[in-house]
């Protein structure tokens, strides 16, 4: 391989040799260290390969051994350049290709994050932009260590970051902490528990505080369920002191939800006509080039695009994007809903509400869906009977004026 490269770089010749004593010529060549190879005997003549430097030194040997040399063909770079010396633009294009490729390789054309689960790509890329690291910047301006440090300080949930530049890509690997990084501090300020919603209490477990309601009571929104004001009474039931505690209770109540939703009378239907137009587009830096036939007047098309970034090897991304556009013609018209569709739509609405409630931690006991249909309006009534925790902590307001320290002192004395 190395020998071949050497031969190609300096040029070599295919030579036909005839004459009196070719063996003597061959021996003399080896003595004078003239490189010959692939010597073939074909009848009276010999064919061999010789380097250009060797051919320059060979003249006295030819005279001594009385052979005749004839060049059959010339190979190698010097001859190639000589043959193509008029094709300057060709050479310029060839060189500029490599120059452009090299200059493109100095920038970052793709940023990839790996291992992020909590933080989205957009969050991370925005943070990178605030750190002056963005798509299309110089590779040499990136300090991976500083970037890693910044990631760890900005996002405390990220426990391990590794940033590296590979080719024209910035690869950031992230490990997020899977458990909570800190135990939330326990809030000890005294408070009441009040009702979030109207309902009937079904169960009640009070851990601290004074219960103000009982199971089976009807409650209203905002009503105090558990009071954080603990009266201390003596034997004659007179209040001698009040103790403020942080109420803690699990209270569930039976609640009702009523939703009414309007349904449009007419349904918009898009029907594809089956006509498809394909097109391509190319994007380089900020310039994009679209190649698609213009759409005929008065027709509507749905377009989808698939974009792909051009890359040479796995990590040599270039700022050039190719995309394929597929357009499908459609005609839209409106028609009234059929009974079946109404039912489906109302079911769909119901499911959505149900999902919302379940996500909030509500247990659903009953669920009714009614379609109220008349000429001008179509409504869906959705009713839920549910069971859910209703207690919400709220710091009390009126007692704030008193001085809690004083009461605390007296408490200790008691």
């Amino acid at each position: 391989m190395l020998a071949w490269l050497n031969h190609y770089l300096f040029g070599y010749l295919s030579i036909e040799m005839t004459g009196f004593s070719p063996e003597r010529f061959l021996n003399m060549c080896s003595v004078h260290e003239i490189e010959l190879w692939k010597v073939i005997n074909c009848g009276h003549s010999y064919q061999l390969f010789m380097t250009v430097q060797g051919f320059r030194k060979v003249k006295p040997l030819v005279r001594k051994s009385k052979v005749r040399l004839r060049i059959l063909k010339k190979f190698g770079l010097p001859f190639f350049l000589h043959r193509n010396k008029k094709r300057k633009l060709y050479a310029a294009g060839f060189i500029s290709f490599f120059l452009i490729l090299y200059s493109l390789s100095l920038f970052i054309w793709d940023i990839e994050f790996d291992g992020n689960r909590m933080y989205t790509y957009d969050t991370l890329i925005k943070f990178c932009e605030s750190e002056e690291i963005r798509y299309g910047m110089r590779k040499s301006n990136i300090d991976c260590d500083v970037l890693e440090e910044a990631f760890r300080t900005k996002f405390p949930e990220i426990t391990w970051v590794s940033a590296r530049v590979s080719g024209t890509r910035l690869l950031v690997k992230i490990k997020e902490n899977e458990v909570l990084s800190e135990i939330p501090a326990k809030d000890e300020t005294p408070c009441d528990i009040i009702a979030e919603k109207d309902g009937v209490i079904t169960s009640m477990i009070v851990r601290s505080g004074v219960p103000m309601v009982a199971i089976g009571d009807t409650i209203e929104q905002g009503q105090v369920l558990v009071s954080g004001t603990l009266p201390i009474t003596d034997d004659s039931e007179t209040v001698i002191n009040t103790h403020f505690v942080r109420s803690d209770a699990d209270i569930t109540a039976r609640t009702e939800y009523h939703f009414t939703r309007q349904m449009p009378l007419f349904k918009k239907v898009d029907v594809e006509t089956g006509k498809v137009r394909n097109g391509y587009y190319m994007k380089a830096f900020r310039f994009s080039f679209l190649l698609i036939r213009p759409k005929p007047e008065g027709t509507s098309w749905k377009r989808t695009m698939e974009e792909e970034q051009l890359h040479l090897f796995q990590n040599f991304y270039l700022p050039i994007y190719f995309g394929k556009i597929t357009g499908k013609e459609y005609i839209s018209y409106e028609r009234p809903y059929t009974e079946e569709e109404k039912k489906l739509l109302s079911e769909d609405m119901n499911e959505r509400h149900k999902k919302n409630l379940i996500e909030k931690g509500v247990q659903i006991l009953e669920n009714h869906v009614k379609i109220l249909d008349n000429e001008s309006l179509c409504q869906v009534a959705i009713d839920f009977v549910a069971e859910e925790p209703v207690g919400r902590r709220e710091a009390f307001k009126m007692q704030r004026s008193e001085e809690p320290e004083e009461t605390n002192h007296s408490n200790e004395r008691n």
Binding site: E23, N27, L36, W37, N41
Partner: protein
């Protein structure tokens, strides 16, 4: 006399004899290629036989379509359909 002592010394010291004595070393790779080391010069080269001068003998490679792949001062590689090797 000198040659004999040289050979004894070489065998006693277990030195490679082709290096010490300059004997010709012929190595075949199948029947299509042969490498000859420590030859002196080419005496005859035709399509069907190559005769080489070694230190104290002549080596004749017989065959057909013989081609010298490369040769230097010490070493020569011959490709082709090799039929025989003779010493003279």
């Amino acid at each position: 006399m000198f040659e004999e002592s040289k050979e004894k010394a070489a065998s006693a010291l277990k030195l490679p004899k082709d290096v010490v004595l300059g004997e010709v070393l012929v190595s075949f790779l199948g029947r299509h290629s042969v490498v000859i080391e420590n030859y002196r010069s080419i005496i005859l080269y035709t399509d069907c036989s190559i005769k080489l001068q070694a230190k104290n003998c002549k080596v004749i490679i017989g065959g057909s379509r013989l081609m010298i792949e490369y040769y230097t001062n010490e070493e020569m590689k011959i490709n082709g359909y090799i039929k025989s090797l003779e010493f003279e």
